[in-house]
Amino acid sequence: MTTSSYNPTELMICTASRLMEDNTTAFIGTGIPMLAAALAQKTHAPNLVSIFEFGGTGALLEDLPLAVGERRSFHRALAASGILDVVETAQRGFIDYGFLGGAQIDPYGNLNSTVIGDHDAPKVRLPGSGGGNDVGSHCWHTIAIMQHDSRRFVPRVDFITTPGYLTGPGAREEAGLPRGSGPYRVVTPLAVLGYHPQEKRMILLATQPDVSVEQVQENTGFELLLAENISQNPPPSPAELSILRDDVDRDRFYI
């Protein structure tokens, strides 16, 4: 894709942005989700309600927040409270979408951002849960944004930082997690993946432009379920790219 007119980050931002529905609440984390949310507000989802972990609700994302707590995360917002009000709002079922990342993901959407190797004698100490576990526990639908290779897409994560479907159907409810919540999509430079409604295992829904189903499977460390009709995502439109480059991230902080 090096010859294409957009870079992989731009592709992921546009793909994530298209998943954001107008008039829904979305828990936005640092990085790509912020750009995707800002792009969505400036395109198909002007009424997307952005919710930032440390207290901003309903900000107008005219300027790109550089972090989840800084002034742009509650710029002309509808409310500015604190972390507990926000996470309790999620725990009460008011937050529709949440965005997540991690170093490893497994077929059930469990995420690891804590440690590679043994927790008490780690090979690599990762940053930790942060708000990830809260988002993955309480938001109705979570969307993971991941680089895509078989070191990251693994049969079993070294450490379950953030709950996906855990061991499979019914496991979240059994653990006491909210009924009907869980992983919804995974966005990567190669594909958009979902979860089988019954089996709760990862399923390939769409490939990114110029990417084959085989490439996706080759870069995944476990067997993917395949949707009946696997679509191919259209590339970022010139409109999306120009808004992203000339407006959303005009200072080229991320892209």
Binding site: G31, F54, G55, A67, F74, L126, H138, R172, Y254
Partner: protein
């Protein structure tokens, strides 16, 4: 009420609510002038081995002038509640952290924390107990309420809970599993605010993160503030007081006290400075050089501000609509 699961992690800060009440009873109710500089506040109220916490989000309202002083005074074997970027990285870089109630330590868009990796992977940080961001804030809230625990549906079913000190019990009302988070009472809390009076009545602009909870969960509380205001101004808008004076032990006037972090409506984050740290922190040598230059070779916050330079600080103010005033 059945206990379903016990987290394996140690309770790094055991607590007794009646001892906490006795301690709080001993704090003065009188309006006492608590102004002092960083050196006095840190030497008087922080001891080696203390359990400390910083209140901030990312690099926002980061109590950096206080943390720099902790490093300068070499307060060691600290136990720390970990949700932070630059300031916790600096404590780790200086080798002062013995144990972590961990939630997030990293450089956000600039990637992993190399200091965290070095300190934890080497075993110099002896214990990492895992929590989510909200779980740590709820643990402060439990202490702030004066109760032993708060329930949550966070952390259930995960290794985060398994490596925490939380417990999963059967809710005696509904019968479902629910996680109980033990109260976290800090020996010392560090909070940087926009405004405070000399007694410690403090105001914060914009979102408040977990300042109210952590202030009330701290046995000793050090406030640093961008400016000191008259108490009359506090009394004009009592609903703006997020931290009442009786919680506070020290009030440190520290303009740009959050640098290189930001203060909303006042100054922006110093991105090049954060990037410089991200680079320097990759290797032990360059890390040490950074600490020497910005902390050890300086006597106080004023010298730090001089080093950063009036001009740069004004630029950071000018980036805020309204020019930071």
């Amino acid at each position: 009420m059945k206990i379903i699961q016990d987290g394996n992690g140690p309770l790094l800060q055991p607590f007794d609510l009646d001892d906490f009440r006795d301690f709080n009873r001993s704090k003065p109710r009188a309006l006492v002038d608590k102004r002092m500089n960083e050196a006095e506040a840190v030497s008087r109220f922080i001891n080696n081995g203390d359990y400390i916490g910083t209140e901030l989000y990312g690099t926002v309202r980061c109590p950096q002038s206080l943390v720099n002083e902790i490093v300068r005074q070499g307060k060691k074997e600290l136990r720390v509640a970990g949700q932070g970027v630059y300031e916790l990285d600096i404590l780790l870089a200086a080798g002062l952290v013995k144990a972590l109630d961990h939630t997030y330590i990293g450089l956000e868009v600039y990637g992993l924390s190399h200091c965290l990796r070095r300190e934890v992977e080497s075993g110099r940080v002896e214990q990492c107990v895992e929590w989510s961001n909200a779980a740590i804030a709820w643990r402060f809230k439990a202490a702030a309420m004066g109760v032993p625990f708060l329930p949550t549906r966070s952390m259930l079913g995960t290794d985060t809970l398994k490596y925490s000190a939380a417990k999963v019990v059967e809710d005696p009302f509904g019968g479902q599993p629910i996680a109980l988070l033990p109260a976290l009472i800090l020996d010392v809390g560090l909070i940087h605010v926009h405004r405070a009076d000399r007694y410690g009545n403090a105001q914060i602009e914009g979102i408040s993160g977990f300042a109210e909870e952590m202030a009330r969960a701290s046995k000793r509380l050090i406030i640093s503030t961008e400016e000191i205001i008259p108490t009359g101004q506090i009394r004009e808008h009592p609903e703006k007081t997020l931290i009442p004076y009786y919680l506070v032990d020290a009030v440190v006037e520290a303009p740009f006290g959050s640098h290189p972090g930001e203060m909303c409506y006042r100054y922006e984050r110093d991105e090049p400075q954060i990037k410089a740290w991200a680079r320097a922190s990759r290797e032990p040598e360059s890390t040490q050089a950074y600490l020497d230059r910005y902390i050890y070779d300086l006597n106080d916050h004023q010298e730090y501000l001089n080093l950063i330079g009036e001009e740069r600080l004004q630029e950071l103010q000018a980036m805020v609509p309204g020019g930071g005033k």
